[in-house]
């Protein structure tokens, strides 16, 4: 159960760098994310589009980076000792 569903926050095994200023708000990443940890912002970027934001529970699977047409995501996986 994810945090959005009212469950406890899940541990993140990875994280992202999100270039929100490049995003055109297509939301393909939100649908593609297996752990469902991406949500769209309430703010808009300079072009006037909402952009994705990360909540806890990222696994570093790179699905968002694979489907993104605007190359908004850079994906990091935490090294095990750091967890």
């Amino acid at each position: 159960m994810s945090e959005q569903d009212g469950g406890t926050p899940r541990e993140s095994r990875g994280t992202l760098v999100i270039a929100g200023d490049r995003c055109k708000g297509c939301e393909l990443c939100v649908a593609a994310c297996p752990p469902r940890v991406l949500t769209m912002s309430s703010d808009v970027n300079e072009m006037g589009y909402r952009y994705p934001e990360l909540t806890s529970g990222c696994t570093g699977c790179t699905a968002c980076q694979m489907v993104c047409p605007d190359f908004v995501f850079e994906v990091y996986r935490f090294t095990p000792a750091a967890r």
């Binding site: 945090e3 959005q4 926050p9 993140s12 990875g14 994280t15 992202l16 760098v17 999100i18 270039a19 490049r22 055109k24 708000g25 297509c26 939301e27 393909l28 939100v30 649908a31 593609a32 949500t39 589009y49 934001e53 990360l54 909540t55 806890s56 990222c58 570093g60 699977c61 790179t62 699905a63 980076q65 694979m66 489907v67 993104c68 047409p69 605007d70 190359f71 908004v72 995501f73 850079e74 994906v75 990091y76 996986r77 935490f78 090294t79 000792a81 750091a82």
Partner: protein, 256 residues
């Protein structure tokens, strides 16, 4: 619900597992939100890098939305008349057989305007790789019906949906090419989901390997989303593609 800071790389030890895009892309593109073509182009550039052939690759492109990539791709590119890319690529490959030559064409370009070019090139067994970005509409000119628009699909010039009686049947060009003896590798993929993106990248890699080994002509058809031309919201693009185009054009490798 707490939002994690994603403005910079993490401070704790972590391994970068995916870059924003290929380092061969030198700028930003101007394609619509939810378009599938940038993903297909990123895969193509990644394959060129992984095979270490960037410095000896010549791309030949037709006319379409992907033309905006010509300016930002760090690869030698020749832009041809509509549909003529396979013939120009033939010339380049015959003069410089040491070069890896690919064409990048949309469905309007390859199937409407230049169908005979690609069929003859395949039949001659030219050692080039053709990439077809198939979205079923003339995206660049405003979303008109093309020869690959599937039956029932709405476009600017078929608002009630494509009707076989009025507009004819769609042409599955990858299947036509797969039936020709000069062809070494033909596959059809899509960029709608993360899994299919990974699969499509493997197809592109095999297509270039077929060219580099001298096996013959190779073609990869990539079904891409065009939410603007399909009149659907950008998030619904992959679902629409799965329900319409994927039904008419089954995915997978068409040669053995």
């Amino acid at each position: 619900m707490s939002v994690i800071d994603t403005s910079q790389p993490p401070s704790q030890p972590a391994k970068k597992v995916a870059e924003f895009s290929s380092p061969l892309l030198l700028g930003e593109h101007s394609l619509c939100p939810g378009c599938g073509e940038p993903v297909a182009l990123r895969l193509l550039l990644e394959v060129l890098q992984e095979l270490d052939i960037v410095q000896r690759t010549i791309g030949v492109v037709g006319h379409g939305c992907y033309g905006s990539f010509v300016r930002i791709m760090d690869v030698d590119v020749l832009q041809c008349l509509h549909g003529r890319a396979p013939s120009c690529a033939t010339g380049i490959k015959r003069v410089r057989p040491d070069r890896a030559v690919f064409t990048m064409q949309g469905d309007g370009d390859m199937v409407n305007e230049g169908l005979q070019e690609v069929l003859h090139t395949a039949a001659r067994g030219e050692k080039i790789t053709c990439v077809l970005l198939n979205n079923g509409v003339f995206g660049d000119t405003g979303g008109q019906l093309t020869a690959t628009t599937v039956l029932g699909q709405r476009t600017k010039t078929s608002l009630e949906g494509r009707d076989a009686e009025a507009h004819g049947h769609p042409i599955p060009v990858a299947d036509l090419v797969a039936g020709l003896p000069g062809t070494a590798y033909v596959a059809r993929g899509t960029v709608a989901t993360a899994g299919s993106v990974a699969q499509t990248k493997r197809m592109l890699r095999r297509a270039f390997e077929a060219q580099l080994s001298g096996a013959g002509f190779s073609l990869v058809e990539i079904l891409t989303m065009c939410p603007t031309g399909w009149f659907v919201p950008a998030p619904d693009g992959p679902g629409y593609l799965a329900d319409s185009m994927e039904q008419a054009y089954p995915l997978g490798e068409l040669t053995t």
